[in-house]
Each structure stands twice: as structure tokens, then as C-alpha cells.
């Protein structure tokens, strides 16, 4: 196996696995589609990265963090639903991006560039992927409880603002990493599809998280391995592989 392919696979597995695990929480809180707008929010940063020649994730991250902080503050201030606030902020991101995005170089920003990932980016994907997994695992009960009923979580002593921030920060990291893997247009699929597939086959929370992570990693491996022989970009193939897994799980669906 060549070195570049190995780097792509390692990055893909850690990004997609962590995204899918986080996706189980986002699906539970009916926020899976929020990753899509946030991915779009990454586009101004991706545009800058393309113009000045640095990593898409590095370019995307500050914009996503800025967007998340604005959403977090607006949520506290207005109590509007998070998905509505995300839609407002993301539209601003897309509008800004298309002012600066060099259209002739836009492909990488839109559908990802995992086939060209560097050693440094791979290390960052592993470290940040593991950090997100650990942070989500430690906060899972609290974040789920907030989703079930915020007042209930407060009476249980959960610091709602802190855990909402941890949750949003995890989303920001995953979306920024996801821009490298599948581009700014399709990040929602990284969190939504494997989690939805896992929902079809799980009876317990434990199975749900494990299955989502496994399905995410599997779709990344399948998509990246399929890219070379088909001469197609890996990002869309990762998404299609995830959709294929979802299709298979429909046979086990409990609903």
C-alpha cells in the first residue's frame, strides 16, 4: 500500500468514525442537518486556504469556531432553536465565500481533498478525532439529558451552557476535519448517515455509538479505496458508501 493512500485511510477512518459517533448525539437532538450549514460556513475559510495555499481544515476551522460562538451566544440571547440560528449564520458564510472563492479551484473546497492529505494533517486528524471521541463520550449523558429536557438537566446539576459549548466545539472540530474528507457541501452526511444506519440496527445506547463509529470508518475506507480504480473523487464516494450501508441496514430496521 502506498504511503499517500495509507495517510488518506488513517485520516478518513478517524474523521469519519468520530463524526459518526458525534452524529448519534446530533441525531438524538434532531440536529444532524446542522453540520451541513456549518460545512458551508467553512467555505470562506476554504476559499482563503485555496487562495493562499494552506490546508482546507486550517482555513475552515476559525470560521466554523466563529460561527459556533455566534450561534451559542445568539441561542443564549434569543432562545431561538439552534437549527434556525445555524441557518442564519450559514447563509452569511456561503454568501461571503462566493465573494472570494476562486471558482476554478473550488472543487477541493466543495467535495474534499483527502487523497492529497499530508502527514501533518493525518496526525492532526488522529489527535483531534480521538479528542472529540473522548470529549463526547465523557459528556454523552449530560448532552443527551439536556436534549431530553433542559430544566431536568439543570436540576440534575448539569452545567447546560458548558455542555452545550463542548457539544458545539466538538461539532466545529468535526466539521473542519470533514471539509478535508468530503468538502464543505457534504459534511452533514458524515454525521447523519452512519448514525442513522446505526439507529436502524441498535437496541441500546452502547450499540448505537459503536455501530455508528464502525459504519463511519467503514464508509471512509470503502470510499477512499474505491477512488483510485474508479478515478473518481474520494469525498463523494465516502458519502455513497455510507448511503449503501444505510440501505443495507434498512433490512434490520426496527421502526
Amino acid at each position: 500500500m502506498n504511503h499517500q493512500l495509507l495517510l488518506s485511510l488513517i485520516s478518513g477512518v478517524f474523521i469519519a468514525g468520530a463524526a459518526a459517533y458525534l452524529g448519534t448525539l446530533m441525531l438524538s437532538r434532531k440536529m444532524a442537518v446542522v453540520a451541513g450549514p456549518l460545512g458551508h460556513l467553512a467555505l470562506p475559510g476554504a476559499a482563503l486556504a485555496l487562495v493562499y495555499g494552506f490546508s482546507l481544515s486550517v482555513g475552515a476551522f476559525p470560521f466554523i469556531v466563529l460561527g459556533i460562538v455566534v450561534i451559542w451566544l445568539l441561542e443564549i440571547r434569543t432562545k431561538l432553536p439552534m437549527e434556525a440560528l445555524t441557518a442564519i449564520v450559514f447563509a452569511t458564510g456561503v454568501g461571503t465565500a462566493f465573494l472570494f472563492l476562486p471558482i476554478n479551484k473550488a472543487e477541493a473546497a466543495l467535495i474534499g481533498d483527502i487523497a492529497q492529505v499530508s502527514t501533518g494533517q493525518t496526525v492532526a486528524a488522529v489527535v483531534l478525532g480521538v479528542a472529540v471521541l473522548l470529549a463526547v463520550r465523557r459528556s454523552y449523558a449530560q448532552i443527551l439529558l439536556i436534549g431530553i429536557h433542559e430544566d431536568l438537566a439543570k436540576t440534575e446539576g448539569v452545567n447546560v451552557r458548558l455542555f452545550n459549548f463542548i457539544y458545539l466545539a466538538a461539532i466545529a472540530v468535526i466539521v473542519a476535519l470533514g471539509v478535508d474528507l468530503v468538502g464543505g457541501l457534504m459534511t452533514a452526511a458524515l454525521v447523519a448517515i452512519p448514525a442513522a444506519a446505526a439507529r436502524n440496527v441498535s437496541r441500546t445506547l452502547g450499540q448505537y455509538g459503536m455501530a455508528a463509529g464502525a459504519f463511519g470508518a467503514l464508509s471512509a475506507v470503502a470510499g477512499i479505496l474505491a477512488a483510485a480504480p474508479t478515478r473518481l473523487p474520494a469525498g463523494p464516494l465516502v458519502i455513497i458508501a455510507g448511503a449503501g450501508i444505510f440501505g443495507v441496514t434498512l433490512f434490520w430496521s426496527r421502526a
Binding site: 431530553i148 441498535s202 437496541r203 445506547l205
Partner: protein, 230 residues
């Protein structure tokens, strides 16, 4: 007089410039079952949220120091849980309740301990509501605050839940604050009633003194009187 489980002095809550509650005084002794009644919009849920420190208020709310409080909020419904593949045992685990305590509480509300392995989203409505009561009683709280806990269950199911709570109240000196519209609950289980009115007046005392025909008329919009069978 000993230390009360809850003492409220001159409690006022204002929402968007409108006084929802003003100058409320209340004392609930350990082991008492207080039912909070009133028409929609009278401030019942606001009162509950203020008592739990979930919203700003003026005045004094003093729970007995160190008291452990369980809370069952209004609108905690099964639909959310149905979206998540969570077993009853894992649902208890969200509150860091262990397997042994989960089994004890399930049995306390008349559910088999094997139910811990079942998906919470696929219990019947009555089982789910009983499971929620068990969930609130987990960890042996000394007080529980329940906001319309029987909305989703039929009359018999609701009666069972209140019988369980009443029994727990007597055996474990559990102090219960309960919001309901159900008159039977008040007369069968409550030691005290707080009646809140939309126009600002209120009554607090034992059920037979508080629930006069005038109060019942305001509450249910009809000429009602509560008779007991001789």
C-alpha cells in the same frame, strides 16, 4: 415547629414585565403532599420552576439544607426517547443511577426489574409514565416535584401512580409537590392544596377548605361541587 422541607416567603415572579406571581407565602412540612392547582396560565409551572431555581424570582425560597430533590417536568414525553435507542437501564444511567437502584425503583412502581433491558421508547404509555416516576424516585430523594405527571396516562394509570407516590410519601417521609388538574388526586392523596388563580388570588390549606364551589367553578368553568360517598 421543626424545620420545614420548603419555606417560601414573599415570592414574586415577573415575566416580560407582567407579574405572574406576587407575594406568595408557603410552608411545606416533611412528608406532606402538596397539590398545586389552578387554571391554565395561573403560574403553576412558573412557580415550580422558581422553586427549583430555574428562573429568576424575588423573595425567599428555602429548601431544608441538604435536601435531595427529584423533578419530573411537564412535557417529558416518550417521543424524544423513541428517537434514541436507549434501554430503561441506560435511561436511569443518564442520572448515574446504578443497576441495583434501578431494579429497586422499577419494583417500587410495580414494574418487573427485567424491564431495565427493554427499549424505553417502546414501553406502553402507562409503563413509560410509571418508569418516569421510578426514575424520579431513584437515588432516594427526600422531596419530589412533579409537573402534571399523569397527563399521558388513563385514569386508572394515573391513580396507580399517585397511590405509589402516596405510599412512598408515607413510608419514606417523602415530601411531594404535585401540579395537577385531577380533583380525585387532591381528595385521595393530598394533605394540602395551593390554588392559584389567573386573577391573582390564591388559597392554601387542606383540600376541603380550599376547594370551595367558587374555586371549582373558576377552575372547571361549571357549577361543580365535590361530594364524598357516605
Amino acid at each position: 415547629m421543626g424545620e420545614a422541607a420548603l419555606e417560601v416567603r414573599n415570592l414574586s415572579v415577573t415575566l416580560n414585565g407582567t407579574a405572574v406571581l406576587s407575594g406568595l407565602n408557603l410552608r411545606v412540612e416533611e412528608g406532606e403532599f402538596l397539590t398545586i392547582m389552578g387554571p391554565n396560565g395561573a403560574g403553576k409551572t412558573v412557580l415550580v420552576r422558581a422553586l427549583l431555581g430555574l428562573m429568576p424570582y424575588e423573595g425567599e425560597v428555602r429548601w431544608r439544607p441538604g435536601i435531595k430533590i427529584g423533578y419530573l417536568p411537564q412535557g417529558l414525553n416518550q417521543m424524544f426517547v423513541r428517537d434514541v435507542p436507549v434501554t430503561v437501564g441506560e435511561f436511569f444511567g443518564l442520572r448515574r443511577v446504578g443497576a441495583a437502584e434501578t431494579a429497586r425503583c422499577l419494583e417500587l412502581v410495580g414494574l418487573p426489574r427485567a424491564m431495565a433491558q427493554k427499549p424505553a421508547g417502546y414501553l406502553s404509555g402507562g409503563e413509560f409514565q410509571r418508569m418516569l416516576v421510578a426514575w424520579v424516585l431513584a437515588g432516594r430523594p427526600q422531596a419530589v416535584v412533579l409537573d402534571e405527571p399523569t397527563t399521558a396516562v388513563d385514569v386508572a394509570g394515573g391513580e396507580t401512580i399517585y397511590s405509589i407516590l402516596g405510599k412512598a410519601g408515607r413510608e419514606e417521609k417523602l415530601t411531594i409537590l404535585n401540579v395537577t388538574h385531577d380533583l380525585n388526586v387532591v381528595f385521595a392523596h393530598s394533605t394540602h392544596v395551593l390554588y392559584l388563580s389567573r386573577v391573582g388570588h390564591r388559597c392554601f390549606g387542606v383540600p376541603r377548605e380550599v376547594l370551595t364551589p367558587e374555586v371549582l367553578n373558576e377552575l372547571y368553568g361549571a357549577q361543580l361541587k365535590f361530594y364524598t360517598h357516605p
